[in-house]
Every structure is written in C-alpha cells, then in structure tokens.
C-alpha cells in the first residue's frame, strides 16, 4: 500500500500555491502604488480554491478536438479581477489604496503560514505512521 500524497495532504497544497500567487498579486499592487493608471487586482480566493481543488486550469478553453490549439493563457488568468476602488477618482487613474493592500498582504501572509502549519502537521503524522513509534 502506497501513500497517496494528494489524499494525505488534502487541500492545503492548493491553498499554499494560491496564497503565494495572491501575495505576488498584492505585492505588485503595492509596487505600483505610485504608477499612474495602474488598476489594483486581487483574486476571489474561495472561487480560485474551488477551481484548483477540482483540478480545473484557469481560463482554459475546452478542447473538443485534438487538433484544437491549447487556449490557456498565462497572462489572462480568470482568477485575477480588478478591485472596486473606494475612491474612484484619484487624479491619475491609479486605484491602489496602500492601506487596503497592506492589510490584504498581511492577511495572505498569515493564511500562507496557516496552510504551511497544516502541511507540516500532515508530514509529521505521516512520519509517525511510517516509523510506527
């Protein structure tokens, strides 16, 4: 009997990947806090996690024939959406609110660590099972 890592590790692996992507997105918002015309982006985490746990690749077009081109675009991810700004007119078209982005970044970092803790626990219990102590 082999260990099925997908079943053993549960949803935390996907959650970890998504959280790290979200931190990249939020870091990009913070980096562009002073860029004219930049629009802040974020992902709907619940929806993205549902997609990821079902194994759906984001924004992939359904291929009904083997000769169809693979319609997946790395740069047009369906996950990333523009944030609705609290203050629509900032004068230069930038919609980054540093306070909101910083809070979201801190939240994403904590959630990443949470997923990491859970994964660590899973690994520890696997090790315990293997050693049979």
């Amino acid at each position: 009997m082999g260990i099925n890592f997908d079943k053993a590790l549960g949803i935390h692996e996907q959650a970890l990947t998504l959280q790290s992507r979200r931190t990249a997105l939020l870091a990009n918002n913070l980096a562009n806090a002073d860029t004219p015309g930049y629009k802040a982006q974020d992902i709907d985490f619940r929806q993205a996690l549902q997609q990821a746990s079902k194994g759906q690749s984001n924004f992939a077009l359904t291929r009904t024939d083997a000769r169809h081109l693979n319609g997946q675009s790395r740069y047009l991810s369906s996950e990333a959406q523009y944030r609705v700004p609290l203050q629509p007119d900032t004068g230069d078209g930038n919609t980054v609110d540093p306070a909101i982005e910083q809070a979201a970044f801190a939240q994403a970092a904590v959630q990443y660590q949470t997923s990491l803790q859970f994964l660590g626990g899973k690994f520890r219990s696997l090790m315990t099972a293997i050693r049979g102590e």
Partner: protein
C-alpha cells in the same frame, strides 16, 4: 515559485522609489541654483513610472514597476528682479529653477513611505520562503 517573484516585484519597486528619492534630492539641492538665462536654469526632474507587464515568469505576468524615463518639468522658471546680483542679466533679472519645494517634500515623504512598504513586503516574502523550505523538518 511565486514567493521569489514577490521579492523581485518588491525589488523593482525599491529601485523605482530610490530613483524618485534621487530626483527629489537633486531638485531640492538645486532649488536655489539661480542662473542668468532661462535656458540654463535647472529644471525640476520627475520620474515616470509604469507597470511591468508579462516580463517575468509568474502566473499573472506581473513584474512590478519600472521607471520609463525622467522628464523635466515644463513649469516656467521664476524670474527675480535683483539688479545688484552678480549673475543678473541686462534687465536686472536672475532666474530661479521651477522647483516647487513643498511639492518635492510631499514627493519625498510619499517615496520613503512606499520604500518602507516594499521593504516590508520583501521581508515577509523572505520569511515565508524560509518557512516553506523548513517544511517537514
């Protein structure tokens, strides 16, 4: 790994903001460097930021921010009537740069705040990376 992208992104922001701090320092330093003709008068310089798209290899094609270029302010130089000044022209005018000191101070504070924020972002990403590497130990 997206967390190393976070550090790259924060790094681009740090360099962009430090260029902004540099131009601000240059403007402030030259706020009083008067000259005898409009053409030779120092002009305030400001960086133009733009978002980097599709440059790096992460999921969303995000790469942070870059400085597109540094533009000189088109605001007119301020003439000052000072006939006894050694650099005054025939009409008795010296020309002050179009540096707005209040604007530059606000710029400096904004740039240093953004710099701090991005240092924190890079720091957090580093901590998360280190913890990820320690996973299972």
């Amino acid at each position: 790994m997206d967390l190393s992208n976070v550090m790259d992104i924060a790094g681009t922001a740090l360099s962009a903001q430090s260029i902004r701090l540099n131009t601000t320092a240059s403007n402030m330093a030259n706020a009083d460097s008067i000259s005898s003709s409009i053409d030779q008068t120092y002009k305030a310089r400001h960086p133009v930021f733009s978002a980097i798209q599709q440059a790096m290899n992460n999921e969303y094609g995000l790469g942070g921010v870059r400085v597109e270029g540094i533009v000189e302010s088109q605001a007119p130089a301020r003439p000052r009537y000072q006939p006894d000044h050694p650099m005054a022209d025939e009409q008795g005018y010296v020309y002050q740069p179009n540096v707005n000191v209040v604007e530059e101070m606000a710029n400096m504070i904004s740039a240093s705040r953004s710099y701090q924020t991005n240092v924190q972002v890079a720091n957090t990403a580093k901590q998360l990376l280190v913890r990820t590497l320690q996973l299972g130990q």
